[in-house]
């Protein structure tokens, strides 16, 4: 069951992922436009909307990056279309420029920016708290406090945005976005759109003379927004007592269970706080009446705590305020963490739940994520490591290129046995950093390793920069024709749009040539020999010519290839290792490191292939030095070959 299965239903219950509940809330609110660039944990909002877009007559797109996504939805909202844009927390950094300006102009229809933050960094490079963007940019931030209210809260965000004619940030965290919950369905509204633009340059042209006036209005508007939020229906004061616990956002859900667990739910007053920025002062004042001390429970930064402390000072109240001192800054909320903080705050004894065993035995090996069996990046990295090792042997490891990595499945080239990546900072950072190493390191060239989606997202300006300023940079674009890391969304290399329409393929090699790169080549990494040849040639070209070169390693993501092969009614070719021929050298499982191949046992080092994991890509058959790996059905191999090439 997913969002699509709920279309046509206007009542009853459905189990939806938090992100789908947001999507359902948006269509019940009557959105007309939804845009996003994928990013865990935000992706399924627009992904699920894309599946129902044609049925409901709403416009949904995967934009090339968050800035474009933001501007597209924002423009639509200024033209009277109810709009949503969604992104992961770091995506809002990319869209921060228009974000700040959007507060000055405001909007004409409801405009909700979903910021999906990732406490604990389950799938992210940092743990930034985007509630701070709200304070900084003058945009209200609203958070679900329970999973079951996610859908209706989303709807309310649109109504509120429309009412105040201002963008609203709906902030979720991983555990909201990626938790399935029972949702009560309501009626779906017709998409709200005007289809007309009314000229208003004093509002929408931010030249200094206009911006100064708008800035003064914004500060005033902020006060009235704060007042309105005191009666926001998803905030509540619950229970009574001389102490107050503020449960901000999803921390509220943990607080409720912690109190229940500690048996003190009826002894404290709780402020269920959904509107975290700006702090609804009237409501908080009421919650503080007759209270001696307060505990603010929130994840990450003390956003509510700081605002609450400032209110206490402003009002000259003498109330003890606790928060980060008892709750801590790091990582996501947990039941034990909430219980510990509450128990300490209340001065009660608390025994941690005791389980069966707390320490893991030493035989438990780590299980880091890895490239899938059949992943097109494995043969590329295998060849790259081999070519570079050979060059290192010829002239010394101190001249090994600097591998500037980027963000995507291909970041896993960091791990053994490839051990490539030297840097991975943020999206597009591979090419950006390569620009810097090219002029600051004398005896090593930078190699930027970047995926197709990331190249479109943020790779083009630094490529132009490298050409314009003539930098010795080798760019390897890993074109698997999909945005894989985030769960396989189409992008300009795929040939279809978010809603399944056929789309023009924007070829990376064409972009490179148009940007002025003189050395451009495209190859299939499964052809190991050709790959090694091109890699060596390209490295030598950059070192000698001191100019940028760009090569495109093009082969389908294994999961996509398998899906396509199955949908054609074909089976995955099975491969086997001939034990008579295998010499147990371990090249396939140690150097190539395919997770589907392993030694037969601890003693017998001959290889064997696990049918539960093998995707039938066949690359191992071509790297085996003694030809011991063979397909069961060579005809089938021929049939699937072209699928892998895309």
């Amino acid at each position: 069951m997913g969002l699509k299965q709920t279309i046509g239903r206007e009542s009853g219950r459905a189990l939806l992922l938090g992100n789908e509940a947001i999507a359902r809330g948006a269509i019940e609110a009557g959105i007309a436009v939804a845009t996003a660039y994928p990013g865990t944990p935000s992706t399924e909002i627009v992904e699920s909307l894309a599946e129902v877009a044609n049925d409901l007559g709403i416009y949904v797109e995967w934009s090339v990056n968050e800035k474009v996504a933001f501007e597209t939805a924002f423009a639509a909202a200024t033209a009277g279309a109810r709009s949503l844009t969604a992104m992961k927390h770091v995506g809002l950094n990319v869209a921060a420029d228009p974000l700040f300006s959007s507060a000055y102009t405001g909007v004409e229809e409801g405009f909700v920016i979903v910021s999906a933050d990732d406490p604990s960094m389950w799938s992210s490079q940092n743990e930034q708290d985007n509630r701070l963007y709200g304070l900084h940019a003058y945009i209200p931030v609203i958070e679900p406090t329970t999973l079951r209210e996610v859908k209706d809260l989303t709807k309310q965000c649109f109504e509120f945005s429309k009412e105040i004619q201002h963008p609203v940030i709906l902030r979720t965290t991983t555990r909201i976005s990626h938790t399935r919950v029972v949702v009560e369905l309501g009626p779906i509204s017709k998409p709200i759109r005007r289809g007309k633009y009314f000229k208003d340059p004093e509002r929408y042209v931010l030249v200094p003379s206009n911006a100064r006036k708008l800035r003064a209005k914004l500060v005033e508007k902020w006060r009235s927004i704060e007042e309105k939020l005191s009666s926001f229906p998803f905030n509540a004061i619950e229970g009574d007592g001389k102490v107050l616990i503020v449960g901000a956002g999803i921390s509220y859900s943990y607080v409720v269970e912690a109190l229940e667990h500690l048996g003190i739910r009826d002894k404290v007053r709780v402020l269920k706080l959904s509107t975290v920025v700006p702090l609804p002062r009237d409501l908080v004042r009421k919650a503080l009446e007759g209270v001696e001390k307060v505990l603010v429970v929130e994840e990450l930064e003390p956003v509510v705590e700081m605002q609450l402390k400032s209110l206490v000072v402003d009002e000259g109240m003498s109330i003890e305020v606790h928060g980060k001192d008892l709750v801590g800054y790091l990582y996501e909320m947990s039941l034990t963490r909430a219980m510990r903080a509450v128990a300490k705050f209340m001065g009660i004894d608390y025994a941690e739940p005791s389980g069966i065993e707390t320490t893991l035995p030493s035989f438990v090996f780590p299980r880091p994520p890895q490239l899938c069996p059949g992943c097109p990046y494995r043969p590329l990295y295998y060849a790259l490591r081999k070519v570079v090792d050979r060059l290192n042997a010829e002239r010394g490891v101190e001249h090994e290129p600097i591998f500037c990595g980027d963000i995507g499945c291909y970041t896993l080239g960091l791990n053994p046995p490839f051990r490539l990546h030297d840097t991975t900072i943020e999206m597009g950072g591979s090419l950006g950093m390569a620009n810097g190493f090219a002029i600051s390191v004398d005896d090593r060239i930078p190699i930027a390793i970047i995926g197709d989606s990331t190249f479109y997202h943020a790779g083009i300006p630094p490529l132009i920069n490298a050409v314009y300023n003539s930098k010795p940079v080798l760019v390897i674009v890993l074109d698997n024709r999909i945005t894989a890391m985030t769960g396989h969304q189409p992008n300009p290399s795929t040939g279809i749009t978010a809603t399944g329409r056929e789309a023009k393929i924007v070829k990376i090699e064409d972009i490179a040539r148009a940007c002025g790169v003189e050395y451009v080549k495209v190859f299939d990494p499964a052809n190991i020999e050709e790959t090694e040849k091109i890699l060596r040639e390209a490295i030598e070209y950059v070192e000698k010519e001191r100019k940028p070169a760009l090569i495109v390693s093009r082969r389908l993501c294994a999961l996509q290839a398998v899906r396509k092969i199955r949908s054609m009614g074909l089976e995955i070719p099975r491969y086997f290792v001939d034990p008579e021929k295998c010499v147990g050298c371990g090249l396939c499982y140690n150097k190539f490191a395919c997770p589907a191949i392993r030694p037969r046992s601890r003693e017998d080092r001959k290889a064997t292939i696990d049918p539960e994991l093998c995707t039938g890509c066949g690359v191992c058959a071509s790297i085996c030095p003694v030809g011991a790996i063979k397909p069961e059905n060579p005809e089938l191999v021929e049939k699937v070959r072209e699928v892998w090439r895309g």
Binding site: W122, V182, G355, I356, P361, F363, R367, M485, E612
Partner: protein, 201 residues
């Protein structure tokens, strides 16, 4: 508060999210509230996946902490061990007996499966070990391992889910031969659980 806390674990790519979603739907069909907190992103590329499934009359928090799980279900042996700290003192553990090694050179074959089983037996009175991968393979699709374990879990969680609903939904996964194998794998899992006289939570 009346609820059950379940950890569903295994290796990314084994179909754990499908298992968790089906169990949560079956819990909803039984009239309960349910939350299933999934692992997406990086970990799905062959890393450890942990899904927190909670079923009950009133639940708030999407996750729970160590020592709070009534049940751990695992599709892989080492992941079962990794999740033991989640178990309450009288918790139940049901696991596939297969070890899947990560492609880190040198780790292959480093584990003695009997030693692992001994470690588990010494600690967990309610332990059920199931050769789910073998069962799935013998049915003709090694990727149906998750369905065998789903069958086992469905018996342990009988009081919390609508099993008729679940059986119907299982038969809708995949098409043709794949769907038929999934259904058989699920049924075999249930038979195994019944023959082991598993605890019913």
């Amino acid at each position: 508060m009346k609820f059950v806390n379940v950890v569903i674990t295994g290796v990314g790519g084994q179909g754990l999210l499908t298992m968790a979603r089906l169990l949560a739907e079956a819990a909803m069909a039984r009239g309960f509230e349910t939350l299933a907190a999934e692992t997406h992103g990086m970990a799905q590329r062959g890393g450890s996946v942990v899904v927190f499934l909670r079923i009950g009359e009133e639940i708030y928090a999407p996750t729970f902490s160590s020592g709070m799980a009534h049940l751990v279900v695992s599709t892989e042996l080492i992941e079962a061990v990794r999740s033991v700290p989640y178990l309450r003192s009288n918790g139940v553990l049901a696991t596939n007996t297969k070890v899947i090694y990560p492609a880190i050179p040198g780790i292959y074959g480093s584990v003695d499966e009997n030693q692992v089983l001994e470690w588990l037996r010494a600690r967990i009175p309610n332990l059920y070990t199931v050769p789910a991968s073998n069962v799935a393979e013998s049915l003709g699709n090694p990727r149906a391992t998750n369905m065998v374990m789903l069958g086992v879990a469905s018996v342990i969680l009988e009081r919390w889910i609508d099993t008729e609903y679940l059986a119907k939904e299982v038969s809708k996964i995949g098409k043709g031969r794949i769907a038929e194998i999934n259904r058989q794998a699920y049924e075999r899992g249930r038979e195994i659980a019944e023959s082991l006289r598993v605890v019913k939570l």
